[in-house]
Amino acid sequence: MAAELLVLVKHDCEVCDQVLPVLDAAAVAGAPLRILSQSSPEDTAAQARRVGLRSVPDTDVDLEVSARFDPDAVPTVVLLDGGEERGRVEGLHRARLAELAGRAGAELALDGLPELRPGCASRTRDPDVAATLAARRARAEGRLRARALELGALEDPFEALHDRGLTDGLPGVPPTPERVVGMLEYTGRDPQDVVGAVPPYGGDATVEKVAINAVMAGCPGEALPIVLAAVEAACVESFAWHGLIATTYPAGPTVVVSGPLAAETGMNAEGNALGQGNRANVTIGRTLQLVGRNVGGGRPGVEDRATHGQMGKLGSCFAERLDETAPWPGLAQDRGVPADETGVTLMATEGPRVIVDQLAREPEGLCASLALALESVAHPKQRLAFDALLVVGPEHGRVFREAGWDRARVQERLFELTTSPAGELARGAGGSPEGIEPRFVSDPDMPVAKFAGPDRILLAHAGGDAGLFSMVYGSWAAGEIGSAPVTVSVEPWR
């Protein structure tokens, strides 16, 4: 095959204006030239008229050819031999253009043109265009495989997401291919890797599907590795996500992030950490629930049978405060994640409740207060069926830290203090029909623990500098019949 000169131009470029008449004349004289414009047919035609071309350059449809050769600037002249690139000139360099054209057996009448002029930015460098091309490339290369949904031209995109049942009551960011490709930049994983099978219908949460829901949730890209770890943890069988979705209990997944990535991602571990306002906290939790809803197919009123639910089911996620105020290492680190790494701990919980103690200065007294609140998780007379996540605030944490009580010691003491005599817990005791069946209460003085073990009281540390409060999240059904907390390491992406 003979050599060919492929030329890329655009209409709003003075250098292209200068070079085009020369190329046009050479083409008419028989030079093997193919001229493609990055601009619209209308703009190209107008340029051709303006600079007096004898034929209008063809359009580089969808910028396909430009994307292939990916020049920084136009005009670009590429020497092709058998379809392969043998050389190129970007911008106007008279000497190099003459030489390149000569190799294709063409002569260009370049006299009168400047020796040297840099071209204008290729349209492929326009950020919007680059994003669209990247999305198209991702689709062509199989990195994007999700079905494309066309939102009608007469639909408002935000209403459309509600109308299709894709969101949780709040608006979602329309997950365009460009945004999803942008999100996928924050992980090194293959987009088609399956993170887990999501109940109740077992849909595969691929990295791509997680990224799509992360975009919808408004999640910052930096948080994607944390989100992926959370989805992985939620899909672990012992977490019992299926039961958690289907239960009448007002519980949902709570995500505790422990480690350096939390701060790097902009998460909040301090004032109002369990509340609104921090984008990463709010959207990591929301992404997990959207994955549950969209990939798993569980919807309120249908598969989700919660009697009341609570707003934590929109998303429940916070970072642990592990600075110099922390009484202990992170929760994830206590559960096996290496000290300098970041882990997520998923626990099936209700919404948090405050425990006030403004007077305890010693760990014994503080534990006594905390234990009173812990014992009332679900119902004071319900024993062994529930775990708890206790989020110690810094003013309370200081009491433990200054007294040198480590996590295990606090857990032990809380376990002991949440024990009550069986007689007080029997059905009918205190006037309440709830409680332990009488046949299990042989000795009314026998101590009955609230929790199945000290390790069932998970301790985390978060909150602002001021405020003598801790927060307790009662769990959903615990142990064999229910959900167990799961901790997973976060794979960072650098």
Partner: protein
């Protein structure tokens, strides 16, 4: 992106359901049908016969007319249909 272009998004679901917004469920027993006349000329002749045929097939028919075919049905027409009827036939567009 202008208002008149379509927007492509990627499906966040497990792709089990068909595309597009879901249509209303079709209940097995269809009793009362609203016949909405969009008020194009001669449409009423068509609708008269349609009404007769529907009644012949055992349905109750509620005739309503839109004030004009150039605008969507007003709220009171829609509300009346929603409360009294099981399904809607709108005719005759030409």
């Amino acid at each position: 992106m202008t208002a008149l272009e379509t927007l492509e998004i990627l499906d966040p679901t497990a792709e089990v359901d068909p595309e597009g917004r879901p249509l209303a469920g079709r209940p097995p027993d269809l009793r009362t049908i609203a016949l909405v006349d969009i008020r194009k000329p001669r449409g009423d002749v068509f609708l008269d016969e349609l009404e007769r045929l529907l009644r012949e097939r055992g349905h109750e028919v509620q005739r309503t007319a839109k004030p004009t075919f150039t605008k969507p049905a007003p709220a009171d027409v829609r509300k009346e249909i929603a409360t009294r009827c099981d399904a809607v036939i709108e005719a005759l567009a030409d």
